[in-house]
Symmetry: none
């Protein structure tokens, strides 16, 4: 697969991993799942800073002491939530395009799935965006690295879509950013969207339409043919 220019910049980005005092890996996994569940609940309700570690522990069904056997700091808790969301997204998107042959269908599928996942997990996405300032340097690098991979996934799908066409490279890459960013409007603007529109479903559809329209800009002659709509989500 063709390397993009952007890849030249994000070398040497180490992924932060949350270390634990516990040896039993299976146990770590189980406990962390508990923790994510509890943390998402509490963070969603109160935000990162107003949530206390004790509350999170309780919501997770473990004690405070046990909590600190599986994370080193409160920030770690936020980070494993982030990793959880990242996993959901990347696996969901992979699954969405799995088996599809037509790249244009791939594109439609990934856009819709992305929007659906973000909408379904809006509370998590919300506090992850809000608390992005809480990360330390190491975590920021890791987050950024994963964000880049996520965007590049869109870039690759787009690239397959326009294979053989004469494309504007810059527009393609920017489109990848926009496609991945736009669905977040459902989260960051949810209050005003709720007030301005009858249902969020129609908003989702409308945004998908806009996104597909944008894609036309990528090919130089703007003659991108959309696939026939043959499935409803």
């Amino acid at each position: 697969m063709q390397k993009t220019m952007s890849n030249l910049k994000n070398r040497h980005i180490k992924s932060k991993s949350v270390v634990s005092r516990i040896k039993n890996e299976a146990l770590i996994d189980r406990r962390r799942k508990q923790i994510v569940q509890g943390a998402v609940k509490v963070f969603s309700e109160k935000g990162f800073h107003k949530a206390t570690v004790r509350e999170i522990a309780e919501a997770s069904g473990i004690t405070l002491g046990t909590m600190y056997n599986y994370v080193r700091t409160k920030e770690d808790i936020l980070f494993i939530c982030y990793e959880y969301m990242t996993t959901i997204l990347s696996e969901g998107l992979k699954e969405a395009i799995c088996g599809l042959e037509d790249p244009r269908e791939e594109l439609r599928a990934i856009l819709r799935r992305n929007m659906d996942i973000i909408y379904a997990h809006q509370d998590v996405v919300m506090f992850l965006y809000q608390e992005s300032g809480a990360y330390d340097q190491e975590a920021i690098r890791s987050v950024l690295s994963q964000e880049m991979k996520y965007i590049e996934l869109f870039e690759e799908v787009l690239r397959r879509c326009f294979q053989g066409k004469k494309i504007n490279e810059f527009r393609l890459r920017l489109a990848a950013d926009i496609l991945s960013y736009m669905p977040v409007i459902l989260v960051l603007r949810r209050w005003s969207l709720n007030r301005r529109f009858e249902s969020m479903e129609e908003v989702k559809e409308g945004i998908l339409d806009f996104l597909e329209k944008e894609i036309e800009l990528i090919v130089e002659d703007h003659q991108y043919e959309r696939p026939v709509k043959n499935e409803e989500h």
Copy 2:
């Protein structure tokens, strides 16, 4: 001017006002400007929660005690920053379209200016988005109310653009949301955009192009004619 449906929903929204113990109104104004300056500086560097009120006071050139003569709580400080940003935006946008006759030029002007302002104040926008969870109920109502007005400004400009045309009302209103939301990508994705592109200026231009493309969706026959580019910002 024709009432939009959305207007039916946002009635009874009172604006929160930050009260002060000081009587001299001119002084309040002067001090609050100081406070916003100091707060923006500190909040940008450390975020709302990690910033201490004492730091903000010092960065504002006043003492802690004096600070609390002009705001009641730390949250109030965040709120007057929000009001400051709102003022900059609304005045900037008004100024941008002032004197323009062609509604299509109005649209181009307001889109560009919006992007420029957000980019210029990216630090402020950043922490305002991040700390939106810090507001209390009253402040949330007020913030939301101002956000709605801001979006409706775009709606009005769009409406003028397509006066007489056969438009899709839903798309027009959704476009208003998208147009106002999109520039925030410069802020929320600044780290990845910085890595993926040579300059943010080209990103800004690219996004403006995308936005104008989107607008085409509003008229039923998609025959929106863009104005000739005759000015560079």
Copy 3:
């Protein structure tokens, strides 16, 4: 008049006087009356510590700055309230016995009047008792000195009552303490008295009866003759 033993102990007690920055004595008087009025109101509602000087100033109809032209400290405010109450009590009691010839009537009159005044000013009495810990050394001496004078007033009346009788000196002096102390029950136990009895008026009458009964202990043969009840308060 015969000096009591106790007088030997309370020599050298200077009365604390609240000094003011203002020269015009008439003005001082007027302002202090305002201050007492405001302070009694605020102290009654919130107690000494929870009341702020600013609140007291406002309730007094003066500004904070003006306040500090007439008192040096917050404690001073409490003290002038104390002096105000002392004045009311001593003047009320003097007036009550003024013109009476029979010492036994004097006694009855002073007991009743004392009870009436304390009951009428129960809010003031309440916070004066509660905040007695707020005084500094100097104020404590002054308060104690006035308290002694107040008790000695009762002692003198009692002494006149039993002139010529063979009395138990100790009991007479203790009676003076009890007579002056007992009415405070209306204040310090007001909540439980309110619940336990139909009206505070009957409580007042009951206590007066008890007090008169006690007085009998003073004469050695317990043959104190109460005056005929010929007046209702």
Copy 4:
């Protein structure tokens, strides 16, 4: 036992309980005892408002953080002191009358013991009276409820004393209030009593004599026979 009218009024009074974050109940008990000891010391010296929680913690031999594992607020500290005093009083009084057969001896015993306890714990009683304004609504209800029980204990003893006699119900009930209230004079007037009398012991005896005299008023014919003094406290 015959229900008194007062009982009709004090229904639905819940007792406030100070909650703790600690689970080990025995530990809570031990720590709270430490806290009461430290608090009584500090409150006695400086009063509630001038005492800092840190001082109290230090005087209790625990750290500030630990303190707040056992109480929620500074007010809670005051409240557990109150409970402590209440316990001492009620247990002391019960013990005093335990095993006595003659109700008149019971009465004498309870009066003397009450006075002794209040005198012995005058510092505690002092700040409890002074800081009664510091309680919140919930605490006030609880305090009042306990105060009522305390008074009613005296009422019951009196009632046993005069069983079979023709009594004045009102006087009996008022006597209960007076008997329980009077010993507090040792605390609230301690400075002046100290100056006016040679020893507090004689004052205590004198007051007891007065109280017994008062009791005579309860029976209609005033023919209450005091028990022979056969014990010295």
